[in-house]
């Protein structure tokens, strides 16, 4: 998967290039809007990460030019998040919009969503190691033993299982499980994960829920 990164700020460009490369993407980094538009129209990219504030030609101009010929998915990065800006970005054909400061896990999650072609296949039965999740019956077993979960605990486990091996940030979890779309100072997500672990991981081996320090949580079989 090739990603074109258009970012003028050296530090931001450097860590984004590094982070995305380490997440398994091939990243080309350019620093101006004109270069970005040139690369985007002459080469083949799966996704463009575009900063709005660029010298000379800004992100808005780049996307309005690009959309005349290409439909490559574009994810906007911006420090401005006025409602008008959001609407403008989406009207000009941006596929997603991420406001600085953002969690890196959030960026990767958004990129994955944009790159996922077609509808996500929602399996009825999920298997991770010895855990089985029956989505229709909302039933979870490990090692053949039935585990009782509350509704929200099930939603949380299902979210993590559906996106296994993907680091999920706390704000993403709060938004997906409880529909709380704002950053809260409370440690609700950490508490919920801890309680889920007591039921899912403590009585069994191997542990499936892992903490990625400073980023969030991931569910995967690491054996």
């Amino acid at each position: 998967m090739r990603i074109l990164l258009v970012e003028d700020e050296p530090k931001a460009g450097e860590y984004l290039r590094k982070g995305l490369s380490e997440s398994g993407y091939v990243v080309d980094w350019v620093r101006t809007g004109a270069d970005g538009l040139h690369c985007a129209t002459t080469e083949d990219y799966d996704l463009i990460v575009l900063d709005v504030m660029l010298p000379g030609m800004d992100g808005w101009q780049v996307i309005s030019e690009l959309r005349k010929t290409h439909s490559t998915p574009v994810l906007f990065l911006t420090a401005r998040d006025e409602v008008d800006d959001r609407i403008k970005g989406l009207e000009l054909g941006a596929d997603d919009y991420l406001v600085k400061p953002f969690a890196f896990a959030e960026l990767v999650a958004r990129i994955r969503t944009l790159l996922r072609r077609g509808p996500i296949r929602e399996a009825d039965l999920l298997h991770i190691a010895d855990m089985e999740i029956d989505v229709m019956k909302r039933r979870v077993t490990r090692n053949g033993e039935r585990i009782d979960l509350t509704t929200k605990e099930f939603s949380l486990l299902y979210l993590m299982a559906k996106r296994q091996s993907e680091v999920l940030s706390r704000s993403l979890i709060a938004s997906q499980v409880w529909d709380m779309n704002f950053d809260s100072d409370t440690n609700v997500v950490d508490v919920a994960i801890r309680r889920l672990r007591i039921k899912i991981d403590e009585p069994y081996a191997p542990p499936l829920i892992h903490t990625v320090r400073g980023m969030g949580y991931v569910l995967e079989d690491r054996t």
Binding site: D81, E82, W178, D179, M180, T186, V188, G214
Partner: protein, 393 residues
Amino acid sequence: MDATLGHDDLLLILRSADGAPLLDTRPEAGSLPALPMTAAGQEPDQESRQNLRTSAGLPVRATALWANIDSTGEKVQIIVAHNTSDSIAMLASYRQQILGAALSGAILAALLGYVLVRRGLRPARLIAQQAHSITAQRLDRGLDVASAPYELQQLVVAFNGMLDRLHDSFQRLSQFSADLAHDLRTPINNLMVQTQVALAQPRLPEEYQGLLVSNVEEYERLARMLDNMLFLARADHAHVAVAFGELDCRLELQRIADYFEGVAEDSGVCLEIAASGNIRADAMLLRRAISNLVANAIRYTAAGQTVVLAAAQTEQATVISVSNPGPQIADSAIPRLFDRFYRADPARSDSASSAGLGLAIVQSIMKLHGGRVELSRSAEQMTVFTLYFPADG
């Protein structure tokens, strides 16, 4: 004839019917032009009296009439003229006097007016001088009401009222800036010093990782603080889009109770819901406001106690309340409770918890909904935050 004697100003001319002169008392005055004649036996009317000049240039008022001489039956013309030159001269002198008096009167009035207006406006000048000395640092001074004339007192009182409000806002703003700087100082200091300490000598990779994780926590805290401040600033200018919708109170409160379920159980606090009815509000903002209140309530409730989330609908408003038993908020803290960065209990402001913006955000959200938030403390040692959402949105 005798009647004219001693009256120098009077001219009497008698003429026969054919116009031959019979008598002229003042021949030196010259002759008179022809006059309309009044018939014999009639009183000369107003029109027959005319102002004219004699051939010698004397201004006169004259009238002419026919008369019958009884003894002879002969008709004669009688012309009587009165010299008006004296009257004209007198009128002219009157005119000059009046003109002089009017002019000097006008000048005197203008001068007096000037003096009086200056004297009268001296309080206004004084007020202006006082106003000049009011600066941002001395907004509390105000203007002296007593020194203002009666007519201006209303104005001065209104002006002082405006100054008081400005002073209050200004104080809050400076307090806010100071608190903000102070609240930024702590995390930035943590970041700077712990990083410098770590860099002072080579360390194990785990130590570097620990440092970075700790840094991320501080950054996230800063980001949340910025986010909240930006929200407040926008709400102040009504730059927050409010998407009104019809929501079910019980479902919304249940959602929030679910969200805090784990945290509440961890601290041994029970969450209870008593709700009915619908509410017209922005779902996201409503959840944000209530969850700020619930997070506070759980924080201040002792283990084994219950936090109650209630909602009820009246005709005018939907009322949502969050009540918890716990330490009473001091009276002195109440007026500032909804101020930004204010913490009722500074000792409890542990760095991980909210930066003192939670209640300010609740208040802003209520303003965006045209409603209000109130704090009440009931006799049973309950702290109750009540949100009023007007029914008409």
